[in-house]
């Protein structure tokens, strides 16, 4: 593994997050979503990605952040996971940034539980701190999930 890595970055409720570029399939603007009743609350809904049905995970809910304001439309960061393509709903797309391994550090234990569990570490950039998101964990477990009730 080389010392330099490229991250696709985005913002979610003020958090600056990144995902390895090779895991990102594409970034698209807001798509009409079909909500899935009784689904865990972190699931934003289903979108039609050129004939393929893709599940969208609402990162704000997933990370235990404030809900998106009424009328604000999220963007889709479509990532490749073991389960096929999954979309991450984010507020805003940032640049693709190059980060160096030397600037990497584990997340401090004082971070909120959800955010700590879903991030693998933090890159100390010149101006910001960039959190590296663990996409597999983000997509796989659906806590905080509201258990489907019959």
């Amino acid at each position: 593994m080389s010392d330099v890595q490229q991250l696709c970055t985005f913002y979610v409720d003020g958090l600056f997050l990144g995902v390895e570029v090779e895991k990102v399939q594409e970034v698209i603007r807001y798509q009409e979503m079909t909500t899935v009743p009784l689904a865990p609350s972190v699931i934003g809904g289903l979108i039609n990605l050129r004939g393929q049905i893709v599940t969208a995970v609402d990162l704000r809910r997933r990370l235990g952040l404030h809900p998106r304001a009424e009328g604000e439309l999220p963007m889709n960061v479509v990532v490749r996971t073991e389960d096929g393509a999954t979309s991450l709903l984010v507020d805003e797309i940032g640049d693709v940034v190059e980060v160096e391994k030397s600037s990497f550090e584990m997340v401090p234990d004082t971070l909120a539980r959800d955010a700590r569990e879903l991030t693998r570490g933090v890159y100390k950039l010149k101006r910001d701190l960039l959190l590296l998101l663990d996409t597999d964990k983000t997509v796989n477990s659906t806590t905080p999930a509201t258990a489907p009730t019959a």
């Binding site: 009409e32 079909t34 009743p37 009784l38 689904a39 049905i53 599940t55």
Partner: protein, 767 residues
Amino acid sequence: MDDLQEIIGEFLIESNELLDQFEGDLVALEMDAHSSELLARIFRAIHTIKGSGGTLGFSRLAALAHAGENVLSRIRDGDVLFRPEIATCLLQMADGLHQALSEIDKSGTEGGLEFSSLCDRLAAICPAASPVDDVPAPSPEGASVAPGDELQPTVPLIGELLVHAGGVHAEQLQGALRVQSEGDPRKLCEVMLAEGTVKAEAVVDALQAQRQAGVEAQNNNTIRVDVGLLDKLMNRVGELVLARNQILQFTSTQQDTKFLSTAQRLNLITTELQEGVMKTRMQPIGTVWNKLPRAVRDIALGCGKQVEIEMAGADTELDKTIIEAIKGPLTHIIRNSIDHGIEAPELRLACGKRAVGMLNLRASHEGGQVIIEIADDGGGIQTELVKQKAIAFGKIKAEEAERLTERELLDLVFLPGVSTAEKVTKLSGRGVGMDVVKTNIEKIGGTIELKSKPEHGTTIRIKIPLTLAIIPALIVISGGERFAIPQASLVELVRVEADSQERRLEMVHGTPVYRLRGSLLPLVFLNRLLKMPGRAAEESVSIVVLQAGDRQFGLVVDDINDTEEIVVKPLSKQFKALACFAGATIMGDGRVALILDVMGLAQMSRVVREKREGSQLTESHSEASSNSAEGQNSWLLFRAGLRGRMAIPLSAVARLEEFSSSVIEYSAGRNVIQYRGQIMPLYTVAEVIGAPPPELSDPLQVIVHSTDGASIGLIVDEILDIAEEHVAIENSSRPQAICGSAVIQQCVTDVFDMAALQQHARSEVRA
């Protein structure tokens, strides 16, 4: 080189098919040892494999087939009787050939396979076997055709046919062939007729058979296509259907007639294309079933039981992927049926059954679905045992178990880790199984149901869709969202206008119901179930009547759109816990809509449970009015004495029993019987209706009727049938204990009054 590869490839496919057929035929021959037709087919299959294998230089394969052929020819000639050991040995030979074929498939050669011990065993099984035709492959008959034809055995040779039909001996045929090869220009049959070795009629028959086979060979203009290619094609067609739907949606806003007519044509062509591609993927279920007789034989031998398998509807067609998917579950169920269901021969005889257990497989189409039934006549499932096991394994709590109905107890079998087998056998009983079967069936959108009657056997009913990829569905709207309901579970649609709603949607103890032609239909409000916003109560609603297993329920939705062909796409694993959705699809406008899982909905809303209250209701009802039987639609038909055909509502029947008349005892002036730890009084139909008592036959057929924990037995002459019919009862002149007469199954049938039986029993107790 490629040519040779191609030829070998064809040889492999053909030989594998022949071997599958060979196995099935051989097991069938075991049942019907005198079928010369079967024997001829078996013989021909092995002969072809030997011939082609030998020509291609697979000498060990050919030698093995030759050894098998020798055994077969001795059976055909009547030198040796067909015995189970021979069958076993021949099946082992088939396994050996399979092995050789797969080795050839892998490496192109026979590798290090060695069959000499198997060949020796085959030779030993019919001792002193003087090999009938000791000529190595290609066979002597092959000499009369051009060498190139050998690879494609299209039309059987006349000599071969004559030998199979027994019209001529193989030696005589060889003699005639020798004459021919020495330059005699006459036809083979002419030579033999002249020698007097064959009768003219036999030649005529053989010629006819040959012509028939020729016609069949000509009709055989098929090609083999890689399934992967078909899958790809099917996917593309799926996308095309979606695009077509989108264009059709678009047409509603367009006026251009040229565009509209083009869209219409596109629509038609797409539909036809879709149907065509779908058909290419259809396979008869027989392709899976063919392998079963062999499996049944092996399993039965393995557990020391005798089992016969009967199959009906083998030509029922299913999508290839579904065929593949049910293979495993089907074999598992059959293994279970034989290992746990069917009893050992001694036990069966002791129970008064035939020593040979029966396994019935039936497949049929029903409303866009395929129904597969696997029934055995074994010991059935003892629900008490299932309950204990489930408690012992910690699957349910004891007090919970007490509340379960029979049906729910049976369903415990599908829990992982629950097995009722007394001991773990090498075949089954480890408790992994039925849960896997159920998951696999449900994965392909099917349902599985288990019915069991202690001592009478178990029936497993599997319902599966014809195809997975594209299904017709009804689009409904609820809570502002669109949902697709698979048409297969749809029964009917009812619209309830706003002004009549209050009157039509009634409540029973807080549960909404609807009176559908006199019977109560439980209602499920989709928006409430899915916790979605509802609409104002004053608007009209629609009820979608759905079939979930053997229950019906009404799904209340805001609106009904249209039916559409939808392409089913699976949901990702985040939604696995949601039983109410079967998948998702993309609608004409490009948006995603969820597909409802009818069975899941029913389970969530507790529709699919045994109607405990329901049956009690009908019983107490029947005491109040003797006419309550009206409107019932399941009837048990039986024959009793001079009154002939009679019927009672099936809901009044607890069980059907057969008793030997020797177990009848006498108490307080009446026939009684010890039944499940109780003393059950027995009545004949004649005495309830006030006719002279008939003579009792042996064994007694008894309908057991239970109320408040007490059972009454009604002796009848014969149980006829169960009819599902909605009948009108006419009660013009009614004798005692008869509700009236009705036409059931096109016959006038007296409806017996169960209330009168209860009254009769009570009055006797008082007296």
